[in-house]
Amino acid sequence: MAASVRVILRFSKENVDRPITSQVILEQGTPVNILSARMNQQGGEILVEIDADHVEGVIKAFRERGVTVDVRRLIEKDDDKCVDCGACVSICPMDALTFDDDHSVILLEDRCNGVTCGLCVDTCPQRAIRLIG
């Protein structure tokens, strides 16, 4: 797959029961890859991956249907607080937190599942990781 972008789709009580994701896929003619989801009748959120070439159209299509689309960063690591211990590395199911060649802990945002996961946040002994959004 070519370069892709991860966004969070937030559904409300009003639109959660409509097949919006399927409609957008058909309308835009591009896959919307669902990485993780947390939903119930009250609404919820899905983390999806969209082909970078189609991202603008897809986001517009979701927003037209009343879905909130969040393209901000998912997890923020404060490198001044971080001591590169690695407590977050083994816990990350996506290998988004990993060691660099110089033993620094780095966050690869394109792998991160963000708010739908969040396992790393309370793992950090320095409280250097926080969820955004």
């Binding site: 001591v83 590169d84 211990c85 690695g86 407590a87 977050c88 590395v89 083994s90 816990i91 060691f99 110089d102 033993h103 620094s104 396992l119 309370d122 793992t123 002994p125 320095q126 409280r127």
Partner: protein, 522 residues
């Protein structure tokens, strides 16, 4: 060389003198002379290992005077002694808090000890003694509160004052147990996430953690304590410190040696000392320790050539809340640093909770200090034990485990008549019946309340009101964890099962309460 410290002193051996037995040797005085002259040959411990591998022991001995080790990790038995000076009128402090963290008061009027694991009373589990020490080192202002009963010579009973490290007469790190030679690799076999001092451990061995810098660790490079002992000058948290003897739980006999250290905290660097918090465990302190190892003879070269693949540790199941946790295998530091270990025939992610990057930085910084003539070596004036093993505690008073309070469970099977079940509850004067299958395995639980309710409602079949999702306990489980599970799920009994799920007894909150009523576990 591998002698206990007592025999060593009987022989009156002086480490600072050339031994006539050694074919060739250098002394600490000679090395210090070279540091003074600016021509000392100092390598980081990693550079030394490479040199030994490429050029051999003899060349490495000839070319290198001293090497520098390093480690940076959470060390709970740490803290700082402070003296805050006398107020007017003076106070003999009975209780004190800094930034709401209780600071203990072990001695005279205004001496306090800031323990790393003491937690703030207003932000517990987030801010603690380790953070207070870090804040003071950073030059921040802290708020001290104290109370006292008042005496003729110390009339004051209350004190509130803002302090920085410049206001302290003494601010000395005094760490009882630091620099563990190696540590266990932690994982969790339970079916729930647990939070430990080794970090967050996911259920069913889904991750694992370890601590320590392996081949960079000071004690792993001097396992016979030839150069590290009382009086050894070290890098401590970015400042200068000293080894002041064996650490608590020093256990060199099984490869878990430790050291006790002190150092002037006013001169420490916040880059190398950090307060920390482990969720649901508490607060602690990351210390950075670097120890120079003088290359006094070829024997020492052999020892500092040790590699990660030679340093083994156990993989331990922290899911079992006992002193002797089950060992699931052994692993060396090379594998630990690779990021994957094998547990239960599966490849499991592993990462450190200490910092290898900082350990390298400490080793490099100490190397610079020595090369620049800012740090001189000292010989230990007393050796520490090389073969002792730390003992566990003598058996404490009272009862501690489920097996201490368990009694036989009265059971029934699913196909029994409800009247029969009701009779059994009454005859045996109990409230819980454990439902078992044909093999005696746990399949549910029935309470007297359930039976009463069903009779009142005219419902007939036992199977209609069996609770099938049952929480259970095991015989060797601490009473506290069993009690916690009952409180958490608002239940009053736990069937006790063996490894195969067969019912071996029952433990009730009533049993435990009776014991608690007479004092802590009787």
């Amino acid at each position: 060389m591998n002698k206990g410290y007592q025999s060593l002193f009987k022989e009156g051996k002086d480490l600072n003198k050339k031994s006539s037995v050694e074919r060739s040797a250098r002394t600490i005085e000679e090395i210090n002379e070279k540091i003074r002259n600016g021509d000392v040959q100092v390598l980081s411990v990693s550079e030394m290992k490479e040199l030994v591998e490429s050029s051999g022991v003899q060349v490495a001995f000839k070319d290198v005077d001293v090497i520098t080790t390093g480690t940076f990790g959470a060390m709970c038995s740490s803290g700082a002694v402070i003296n805050i000076g006398h107020a007017d009128p003076p106070i003999k402090i009975e209780k004190a808090w800094i930034n709401d963290v209780p600071v203990s008061h072990p001695g005279a009027a205004v001496d306090l000890y800031i323990g790393a694991t003491q937690m703030s009373e207003t932000q517990p589990f987030e801010y603690g003694g380790g953070h207070v020490i870090e804040d003071l080192i950073k030059g921040k202002e802290v708020e001290l509160r104290a109370t006292a009963y008042g005496t003729d010579c110390y009339p004051r009973t209350k004190l509130e004052v803002t302090l920085t490290k410049d206001d302290l007469n003494q601010f000395q790190m005094l760490n009882f147990r630091n620099g563990y030679q190696r540590y266990a690799c932690a994982t969790n076999g339970r079916d729930e996430t647990i939070y430990t001092y080794m970090g967050k451990l996911l259920p069913k061995y889904r991750n694992s953690t370890y601590s320590g810098s392996g081949e960079l660790n000071p004690l792993s490079n001097d396992p016979d304590y030839e150069t590290i002992g009382l009086g050894t000058r070290i890098f401590l948290n970015g400042g200068v410190g000293y080894v002041i003897g064996e650490g608590t739980q020093h256990s060199p006999g099984n490869g878990f040696g430790t050291i006790m250290v002190k150092g002037d905290a006013k001169a420490m660097d916040p880059k190398f000392i950090r307060g920390a918090t482990f969720t649901n465990y508490g607060t602690t302190l990351y210390n950075g320790i670097g120890i120079p190892i003088p290359i006094l003879n070829e024997g020492i070269v052999h020892k500092v050539a040790v590699r990660d693949e030679d340093i083994y540790t156990n993989i331990v199941d922290y899911g079992v809340p006992r002193r002797d946790r089950p060992t699931l295998g052994t692993v060396n530091y090379k594998t630990l640093k690779s990021g994957r270990v094998t547990i239960d025939d599966r490849s499991v992610k592993v990462s450190s909770v200490s910092s290898l990057k900082k350990a390298y930085a400490i080793s490099e910084t100490l190397k610079e200090w020595i090369a620049e003539g800012r740090f001189y070596l000292t010989a230990p004036i007393e050796r520490q034990p090389t073969d002792s093993v730390a003992n566990p505690m003598r058996k404490p008073k009272g009862l501690a485990f489920v097996e201490d309070v368990v009694h036989d469970a009265v059971t029934c099977t699913e196909d029994e008549e409800i009247e029969e079940v009701a009779r059994r509850l009454i005859n045996r004067n109990i409230n819980h019946l454990v439902v078992v299958d044909a093999e005696g395995k746990l399949s549910g639980i029935v309470t007297s309340w359930d039976v009463t309710k069903s009779i009142a409602n005219g419902k007939g079949a036992l199977s209609d009101f069996i609770v099938r999702e049952v929480h259970s306990a095991s015989l060797n489980e601490p009473l506290e964890t069993a009690l916690r599970r009952m409180t958490e799920h608002n239940i009053s009994a736990l069937p006790v099962t063996d490894g195969e799920g067969r019912v071996t007894g029952i433990v009730t909150s009533e049993d435990i309460s009776k014991l608690l009523g007479g004092g802590r576990f009787g």
